[in-house]
Symmetry: D2
Subunit: 353 residues, 4 copies
């Protein structure tokens, strides 16, 4: 009888099954809902680096996922903050999904509170070009944005204290143009940030506008389907890095209005030189092997795969996450980070030791 | 000018960006929606092996995903067939999602037709134990199942030609019990299959019932959240293997009523000995290195990681997908496949050359 | 007592330990020596595709690994054939490693016979440019190649029936030049093949010479360190695909002299159009989803990641191993395989259905 | 001409080739020799955690790899320290490899100095049981250990200041026995440490001896083949964690004699409770989500996959490297780490917040 029971244990424990009781066996190693990927990106001096997606759709507009599941999905994928930004003007499921413009946020917010995710109340003001699409973030009442005139909608959002983000300037006509309406909004402090990356594409020249007009750069998903359907590998999801004084909705809001963001997409960073430099410095640990021969080891402690060009090499070399690269590099030598952009095709150049 | 342009190309092609034009760069390698994992499981003599999930929820009952996205998700994950089986009796979103019981299938079916996925019309008859939950598959009109008496609902489904599947017999009270009502339904040919695996758990003794009562074994997800939220790694999703005469809804239906299924979950197979044996034989290619010394190489050509116990080894050895294992094994020797079950804790034993 | 023993089983089976007995626990899942990666590349009509490395060094010249371990290493990595090609003229360890020029092959051959690997007896004739380095393969007695005059060494090898392979034409001076001495050897049928890839670098214009002078193209490692030290990821090792009538040394020799090779390196193929076309056709399985809309699924059944450019896309799209890609492509449309080269920067163009 | 050149760039950059010049293309992403895996294991209070392998063979005894390549291999795999420990009494290649007993260390040491690896001079005193095999570490002159009497060899090593490590007590007869000779050596302070893990197997009861006799526990490879041939996946290589005051040979020696080691093998730790507890505390970062509900997130910041059993769960749950696990756990609750052993089948029990 003893050996029989041990035999059972041997069989059932094998293949990673676990007895819950004699009738039900468990496979805990496949259960995903309690696990979250941790994406290592360093904090910078005085600020916590929060990973955020400020452009998310649900079944309440033209998305394919229930709002609380958007929170779970972002939690699994290592984000700290999402904004629910369903379209005001475009609701193709409205014959089936009956609700006002605040409901999707409410459902998501409840889930966020349960599992410690910050959920921002937003809406996408969805108009034709030249204005295009704008996300209003930190809204009080989204229903009030459902007005005929597009500038009225923006004014209402601003009245509610909203942060206004210009979405995908290069979409849908493959041309990124800063129209007079945008310049006017910027001049009146009614436009605060802009996507340099949306979904699967970047708009590199928009980073030049960020520098010229003091807009904050964003990388968002504009997610409609599931994240797994959108990105081929786990954790290719783009994100906006926000340097916040505290991990809270207020912390995020303060940081956005202060312009402390970097766009992060598929192992690229796009943003102000000062932020990129500090992320690089805090990501790379240098160990000197032979000072005379300038032989060093560089350990990339972050989860962003950097690409450096230096010395005689005509092409960039990868610094993979959690790997160490051995190279000869005199102290103080400039290195070009070909994955870090401070403007259109303008890469970060800095020394690393 | 030449070098400048080449320099730009060098920068923008780097990091996997691709110029679409000067304003918009693409990152084709992250785009997931057109890619599908191919799970290699061999066909068996005379039949095509289809990978199926017969238990899927959407936002129309208590799921979290829109029906067409369920089709995309299953397509990405390598399935050939899904059944939409929203609850009849449990619709917690019904104050928001207004629809009849056929709608979720219709939305999913339209997407299935577009991308070549077979979508089965089903409903989950959701009652208390002893009856429990039953999926009625291949329905004509799900609305007619919304009747007070549970046996009337089954009769209506049977009248429509439905295949009746008993879901998660071990849930929710951790006890798998074959109640008189099930025996009666089986006797009257109103119960045809049963889940030996649901979601994250298996009910091994239910395989003994399959053998005794000629029920077909199933492994389904009972998916409510996204698949990525449910399973920690891609492709841990369970599936029911169906051996079909043709890749069509009719082909699936004929195979189910004929009992040609094997449950497949996390690199385990559970089903009739004859099916398991044939899958094994067609999965493993043996190359003889030294006939005298009984030295062979076994190449596991399938994507299921098998586990064998043989000879002097007190524990199983893994035959990993797409890998070759070298071993000494006399021809005709019995090998125990500790991941293949023909009954509760009864493993497949067979020779491999 | 029962529960205690089960508890022990629970502990020790956990973490993948397996009892061998009470004093010694095993971890079979970490043991690597019996496992071999299977690299799936299709056979072509009438021939078996063998994966070969014809350029391998050991401690007997300037390599770092004992000859029998070179066989194990190649077996682990999925190769079918290696040639041991220690330098004749360069033996930096000779004060320690005392042996003639045949010994390293003998040690490797013995291991090859044990585990079913084909091991070819070769030597590297190691001279300065213009001649450069040549591998003589299928030698009888390597000692006889140790002669002052380089052309005498080649003649001796040819007398022994050797196949002569020109190694790394672009090394060490970064220029691939076909010198008069090579043209003369080719004219006299004393030079049969040439490396278009060696170690980490390719010489694309050498493929044009292959076409013009009917040389067979090779991709070899020229391995000195361990394979794991040389290549960052497992299975980035280059290989020469040989289309052989039979899996034997004779089969390999016949195929080489008949010129049936393709160079394969880091998911690139370089060779004659006819061979590349057939590999592509047998690698890609097409399923038609909607004939009217030209919607198809392409399943890459090989382990080589192909890259195609077609239609409106300005950049190539990846066809990953064991994945399916869905695309719109009219039957008979030309597709450019940007990873398959038939000459310098000349890609294979073919339809796929 | 411009477009032609860009076209070339487009082709050659594709597939990750990089122009070095027109004749030679590079594939920098496959080059492995400059990359090293970084295995994250926390330091403990006052000490740096060094990853070490104190049992390594080369071609100079019965190994298969040249000594300098052993250094490269260990560097690639993230180790900080190796000891070269060729057998004194067993040199099967001695008819070919002519050298004294110090040579293999000298070759390895030179390479270690070049790339910043600490290389320890050792020898394996290789005798029959009961004594068995012992590694003498930090030798001055290995040649002096080549003496007939086994106890004389130990005395000579001790005279040279060596640290004496008892290797694989459970090999070759599957029985771990502490013989009188070992007790005597311990009593005379001539035996300082013992392998609780060697190669692919552990000797759990030996940890009890470590506790009783104040021996330091070791996990070593005893590597003869290449590491890639020995372990199925990269970084399954076992290692001895040494808590050193400084990263130097002296630092290692001081730590060994002070007994500051933990054996680390395949995501298991075996050692003194105090060390294991500190590694756990510094590996796991806890974030409180909801203090009232005892809801926390645990982030495993180390590269060791821990397994915890707590609360109602009958089986352990995995804390994967760089992932976060969400769980309900009251502050101060005991958790069992089923992968951390302080004795035979005695797991570490500790709270985590």
């Amino acid at each position: 009888m003893i050996s029989a029971m041990i035999l059972i244990a041997g069989f059932t424990l094998r293949g990673n099954a676990q007895n819950r009781n004699a009738d039900v066996y468990e496979y805990p190693e496949i259960v995903g809902e309690f696990y979250r990927h941790y994406l290592t990106v360093p904090d910078i001096e005085g600020y916590e680096t929060l990973k955020c997606d400020f452009h998310v759709h649900t079944v309440f507009s033209d998305g394919k996922v229930w709002p609380d599941q958007r929170v779970n999905e972002a939690w699994n994928e290592g984000l700290d903050v999402i904004a629910i930004t369903d379209h005001i003007e475009y609701r193709p499921h409205k014959d089936i999904v009956k609700s006002d413009f605040n409901k999707s946020f409410e459902i998501a917010k409840k889930r966020g509170d349960q599992i410690g995710m910050i959920v921002i109340k937003g809406s996408e003001i969805t108009r034709s070009k030249p204005l295009g699409h704008l996300n209003a973030l930190f809204l009080q009442d989204a229903n009030k944005l459902d007005v005929p005139n597009e500038l009225d909608a923006i004014d209402e959002a601003v009245k509610q204290g909203a942060y206004i983000l210009w979405n995908h300037p290069g979409w849908p006509n493959d041309t990124s143009t800063l129209y007079p309406v945008h310049k006017e909004l910027i001049a009146k402090n009614k436009l605060h940030g802009v996507e340099v990356f949306n979904g699967w594409e970047s708009y590199p020249k928009v980073m030049d506008w960020c520098n010229e007009y003091r807009l904050a750069p964003f990388a968002n998903t504009d997610i409609h389907s599931t994240s797994a359907n959108m990105y081929r590998e786990k954790f290719q999801r783009p994100m906006t890095l926000v340097f916040a004084k505290e991990r809270s909705e207020e912390g995020v809001k303060e940081a956005l209005f202060a312009g402390r963001t970097v766009a992060c997409f598929h192992h690229h960073l796009m943003g102000k030189e000062t932020f990129l430099k500090e992320i690089i410095q805090r990501s790379l640990a240098v160990r000197v092997i032979d000072k005379e021969k300038n032989l060093i080891e560089v350990h990339n402690q972050s989860d962003i795969s950097h690409q450096i060009r230096y010395g005689k090499y005509p092409y960039p070399i990868a610094l993979h996450p959690n790997q160490v690269f051995r190279l000869n590099l005199p102290s103080g030598t400039d290195v070009t980070f070909t994955n870090c952009f401070t403007g259109q095709d303008k890469c970060l150049v800095t020394d690393i030791w």
